[in-house]
């Protein structure tokens, strides 16, 4: 077992509980020993730095300071959430780039008896650790139920592959690490052109039509490639594509049905875990039909919300459209 400091982040304790549950379930087969950073706080998501710089970076850095203090035998912090990963990694990087920022942050941290020396930790994303530390061979060896026949669209979103100041990925716009992991599980992985396109982020909260269009493009492309489901590593992407798929369909008058699971849930299935041990069934867009293709039976989920009547398509946005789009409009 290799030890890591683990920063779960708020999403994994709430809307992305399925990510948390499934990650815990696959730690053992992967030989990961994740030690949670004690009393960590929110990373500020994409909101705090838009309000005020020093408090935002002090907020992020409290976690780095706690982690550095707790570190016994490891200096690697693993974050599964993309916004958390980016915030932690960026804070460390920018404090190295601009010592003035580091000084200010440390003055603030001193008010809470903490200190962080920029560069003393390595902030990494879970996928990076799985591909580069655990290794694809180890992943392959752990597979007992290959996902053969399941067509998966790998979807990373923005904040894990970019800006990638530390050059951890094969390509910041078209990385293949997630594809490789899913292939190691035996899945049929489509070469998904939109794999690092934006899910709309917080626009679902502040300008829904902008977000709906971005969500539609992703789901449309995955459907055109006949994916059974999408696999992601980002709580925000999962939330937007899963929980807002209904609103998006309603908005455009479409009938897309594209389940999206966390890649850790698919790893768990391939490692022979049961769907209930992996938080499968927590998604709002049912994945049962897709998983039936690999012989996985998911017990009836909690009462599904009543379907809404879609509106006519003419209320769509004046946004660029791909040339020969055949939408599922009735």
């Amino acid at each position: 077992m290799t030890k890591y400091l683990y920063y779960p982040g708020c999403s994994l304790e709430t809307n992305a509980r399925a990510y948390y549950i499934s990650l815990m379930a696959i730690c053992e087969p992967l030989g990961l020993d994740l030690e949670e950073i004690h009393d960590w706080n929110c990373c500020g998501a994409t909101e705090y730095v838009g309000i005020s710089l020093t408090p935002a970076y002090a907020l992020i850095s409290r976690n780095l300071a706690l982690a550095a203090k707790q570190a016994n035998g490891t200096r690697t912090v693993v974050a599964p959430c993309s916004a958390c990963y980016l915030n932690l990694a960026k804070a460390d990087y920018y404090m190295r780039e601009s010592p003035k920022l580091g000084e200010k942050v440390n003055k603030a941290l001193a008010a809470g008896d903490l200190h962080y020396t920029p560069g003393s930790l390595d902030v990494r994303h879970l996928l990076d650790v799985i591909v580069h530390d655990v290794g694809l061979d180890a992943v392959r060896r752990a597979v007992v139920r290959p996902l053969s026949g399941l067509r998966v669209a790998p979807y990373l979103g923005c904040m894990v592959p970019r800006p990638d100041y530390e050059h951890r990925w094969s390509n910041p716009e078209y990385p293949n690490e997630l594809d490789q992991v899913l292939k190691a599980l035996g899945a049929e992985v489509i070469d998904f052109p939109l794999k690092t396109h934006c899910c709309g982020g917080h626009m679902t909260q502040i300008g829904p039509p902008v977000a709906y269009e971005l969500i539609r493009r992703l789901i449309h492309a995955a459907s055109e490639y006949q994916a059974d489901l999408m696999a992601t590593l980002c709580p925000m992407c999962q939330l937007n594509i899963d929980a807002y798929q209904g609103e998006m369909n309603h908005f455009f008058g479409t009938y897309y049905h594209m389940p999206i699971l966390f890649f850790t849930q698919l790893m768990g299935l391939a490692f022979g875990k049961e769907p209930q041990e992996l938080g499968i069934g927590k998604e709002l867009v049912d994945s049962r039909l897709a998983l039936a293709r690999i012989g996985v039976e998911v017990p009836e989920a909690e009462a599904a919300p009543a379907p809404r009547r879609p509106r006519k398509a003419k209320e769509g946005l004046p946004m660029p459209r791909m040339p020969e789009e055949k939408e599922l409009i009735r």
């Binding site: 838009g50 005020s52 710089l53 970076y57 002090a58 920018y94 970019r162």
Partner: protein, 203 residues
């Protein structure tokens, strides 16, 4: 004959516009308020950023235009632009910018500057950020149910969690807590933020 006409025309031309008051510190100010080394001064106006941006169609100005305006000291126009609010932090422009400008972070800086002087056209986004931050400052963790309830009440009453089928689905599937989680070291946490705010105000 010709000469006379030209002269007459010349006299009827409108007066030349008065140039705006120079605000040449704006560029410096934005760069200094951005995390790390923004490299904003190094923008060569190539337009790669706007061409890479998934949301440029909804923006008042492309990032390139906005940065030219910053350099030109057009403070008011810059802080009123919807561009930073439409930016979804996708970092496509950042990895493509030949000058390594921290574009997404500059957008965050412009948002915070616009909030400080209350120059924004639509309050939905600033309100959302502020509500999110208020909750985090109080508990040390984010609190989605509280955030959604407060934010939706003000801006999207029909999407209230628990009312919309989606909200209900989130709650029944255990994906939305109805009570917030408070961290243990909340007092020291608040002290850190208070000190950080003083430092920010002094800078």
């Amino acid at each position: 004959m010709f000469a006379t006409t030209l002269e007459t025309d010349h006299h009827t031309l409108p007066p030349l516009p008065t140039p705006p008051v120079a605000d040449l510190r704006l560029l410096e100010e934005v760069a200094a308020a951005t995390a790390g080394v923004s490299r904003l001064e190094m923008c060569i106006q190539c337009g790669t950023c706007g061409g890479s941006c998934p949301s440029s169609a909804d923006m008042d100005h492309t990032p390139r235009q906005l940065f030219a305006m910053v350099r030109a000291g057009m403070r008011d126009e810059v802080l009123r632009s919807n561009t930073p609010w439409i930016c979804v932090s996708c970092y496509h422009c950042v990895v493509r910018c030949p000058q390594g400008v921290h574009i997404a972070d500059v957008m965050y800086t412009l948002k915070s500057m616009a909030i400080r002087v209350k120059l924004y056209a639509d309050s939905t986004a600033p309100d959302f950020s502020q509500t999110f931050v208020d909750l985090v400052e109080n508990y040390g963790r984010s609190f989605e149910f509280g955030l959604a309830t407060r934010h939706y009440l003000k801006h999207f009453p029909l999407r209230l969690p628990g009312m919309a089928p989606k909200g209900l689905g989130m709650i029944t599937r255990g994906r939305m807590d109805l009570t917030p989680h408070r961290i243990e070291g909340i007092d020291k946490f608040k002290a850190i933020l208070a000190r950080a705010k003083e430092l920010e105000a002094a800078s």
